[in-house]
Structures are given as C-alpha cells and as structure tokens.
Symmetry: C2
Subunit: 216 residues, 2 copies
C-alpha cells in the first residue's frame, strides 16, 4: 500500500475519516466527473469546476487558452484540486448529528503549463477518456488549430488526502428513545438514456465508450 506523506497541507483533523493511501485517493479521483480547482488570483481565492484526467501521480486540466485559469495557473502557482462524491444524506435524530455520507480527495500541487507536444496529447487523451473510457480513439483526430487554442495545465500531486463518511448517524445514546427517524437517504449519480443530436450520419451506432459508462 503506497501512501501519500502527511504534510502540513493534507492532514485531516478527524483521523478516523482520513486516508492517505494512494489507491483510495486514485479510486475517488477516477470515479469523479468534475473537480473543483482552487487557486489565488489577485489575492482572492477562486474555485472553478473543471473536467480532468489523471496519468499516474499527475493531474491534468484543460481549457481555452484565453481563460483565466490558464493564464493564472500557467505561471507555476500553488493549486488545490478537490473531488467529492456524495453518497447520501444522514438524518440524525438531532441537527448536530445530521450530516452527509461522502468520499472526497483534496490534492495540493504546483500548477504548470504543459508545453511538450507528446505530453499535451497524452493529457488530452486522459481528459477525454476520463469521462468516456476509450472515446479518444473513436473521435475525429484533434487538429493543429484546436491544439493551439487549448491550454493544458498539470501538476504532480505533492500532498493528498482522502476523507469519507459512511454509515448511519451516530446519535446520542438517549436520543434513540425519541420517536424521531434516524438513518440514511442514499444518493446516486445515474446516467439516463443517451440522446443523439438528431444529426447522426446514416448507420452511426452508439459507441463502445458510452455503452461502457451505461453498463457501469
């Protein structure tokens, strides 16, 4: 079991809910759809939702070269990326013991603009396949013009922690006698039936990438 080192940034206060195990961190990252990317711009914190891809211990983000995130994060600044999966609402018998069940990872690193053409292409493939596994090989190849308009930001995961809450509420002992419901309402993110855009070339079928996400 490989673990991320506990540092000043990633230490979780409630130890029973924390994990620094790489497999746990990567598993949550790989299940997430959007990351919340935090950085500092003109001395103010900024958090934006972004899609992402992972290659080993490195995370990749991409977007329009003209976007603020690219201008700021391309400059080699600290970045924090958080991915959260919500698993349920925890209804305790008191407000104090009500909560959510979730799994989250918080990553810290130093962002940099990726300039190497090979790494840029690998990153775009990782981001595309993160949402739809294998999609990169199904789509029309990326053009030089598209590549030129795309900024790729990457960082090595320097510190990481996973945090999770599972199970029923931990109510106060005496509250179990009260006629108040206690338990969990599970939450799940589910895919609906794919909706083609009504402009498919004749004979075009649903691709393997989408079949794969639908079959879970």
């Amino acid at each position: 079991m490989t673990a991320f080192e506990k540092g000043t940034l990633n230490r979780v206060r409630v130890a029973t809910r924390a994990s620094y195990d790489q497999d746990t961190v990567f598993s949550i990252l790989d299940q997430g759809l959007a990351a919340h990317v935090g950085f500092t711009d003109h001395d103010r914190p900024v958090v934006i939702p972004m899609i992402y891809g992972r290659i080993g211990e490195r995370l990749y983000l991409h977007g329009a070269k003209a976007a603020r995130f690219a201008k700021v994060l391309g400059g080699g600044v600290p970045i924090c990326v958080t991915v959260t999966l919500i698993d349920g609402i925890v209804a305790g018998r008191s407000a104090f013991h009500s909560s959510m069940n979730y799994r989250s990872v918080v990553l810290h690193g130093t962002a940099a603009l990726v300039t190497d053409p090979g790494e840029r292409e690998a990153a775009m493939e990782a981001v595309t396949n993160h949402l739809m596994p294998g999609r990169w090989d199904e789509v029309r190849p990326t053009t030089a013009k598209e590549l030129a308009a795309t900024a790729i930001i990457s960082f090595a995961i320097e510190e990481a922690s996973a945090k999770a809450r599972t199970g029923p509420p931990n109510d106060d002992k005496e509250d179990y006698d009260l006629p108040i419901w206690g338990g969990v309402v599970p939450l799940q993110t589910v895919y609906g039936a794919p909706e083609d855009d009504g402009a498919l070339a004749p004979g075009t079928e649903l691709p393997d990438s989408i079949r794969k996400i639908l079959s879970g």
Copy 2:
C-alpha cells in the same frame, strides 16, 4: 429581475454561458447539496466540500469549532464558494467539442464568524433544512453544548455569477458527415430508498422532510 453587479471577480469570459441574475444564482444554490469552499491558508489555496444554507443574500457554513476552516474563515478573509450541478456528458464528434452540461455558481465574499445567538440558530436551521426541508422542526432541539462546539461562518454574496452549458455538442460543420455518434448522456442525482438505522423507537415513521425530498 435583480442582478448581481459585474465586477472584477465574477465576470464570465464566454458571455453566452453567463448569468448574473439573482434568481438564477439562488436557484442553483438551492438545488446544490455540497458547496466547494475556497480560501487561502498560509499562502496556499484550499478547497473543501461543505454543506451550507442560504438566507437571502447571505450564505452560511457550519462545522466544528476545532476545524481549520473555522479558524481561518472566522478571521474575516476572502472566500469563494462554488456549487456545481452536473447535467450530462456531451459527446462531440471530436475531443475538442466534447464537454459536460452543467449549471454552476461562483460566489465571492468576505467570511466572518457569526456570534449573534439568534443569527447562529437561524443559520443552523437554514443549513439543516437545506438538505431536508423542514427537518429542523422534526429533530431534538440543539443543546447548549452542541451550540458551543459549532462554528458558524457567514458571508454576504458580494459578487456572483452563474454559468451553464446545455444542449447537444456544437460540432464542426464537416464533422456531421462522419460516422461518429454525437449527443448527450444525461446525468442525474437520484435519491434511493431511505434506510433507517435499525434502532427506531417503536412506531416511528418516515418524516415529512424525507418524504418531501423523495417526491422531488
């Protein structure tokens, strides 16, 4: 239609995807379950998932007094809170035109510790009812000890913007001739059947708050 002013922090680059309308911002906030809260700690950006509540133009967060967020945000520092609802995966015929459908809000403000007892209680009610409407009146009242252990952070929404992407991919004209599937795979967050904790007092029924979220 009341709008948030466009400032230096909340201006969205792609104007067609942006809204500064209060109703739009509040509607996304009210549908979200977790917020991603960004602040700066020791010169590093930090993003943590938190539950929240809204009263008018003011957002409330709560947590253990001992937690880092309470110590940092209680000091009157800049805060950025982002809530994202993911509506679908957009499968374009190229990687470049693949994306997600989503609605998000980014809020900026200055965080402060709430100390007024009445406002603290109203905030806890708002946070509790945000996840389960009406739950505050169903649960065992909060004790003085619980109140003492809870930090409430609040900020007035100084700048806000909503951003959304909807609809099918916007593929390049010539790509529609390719035998590549284009469309959207919808995504939805759904509640499962409530699971009580097996320790209900005799005769305890599912409360209205949970019936309400289940009926949508």
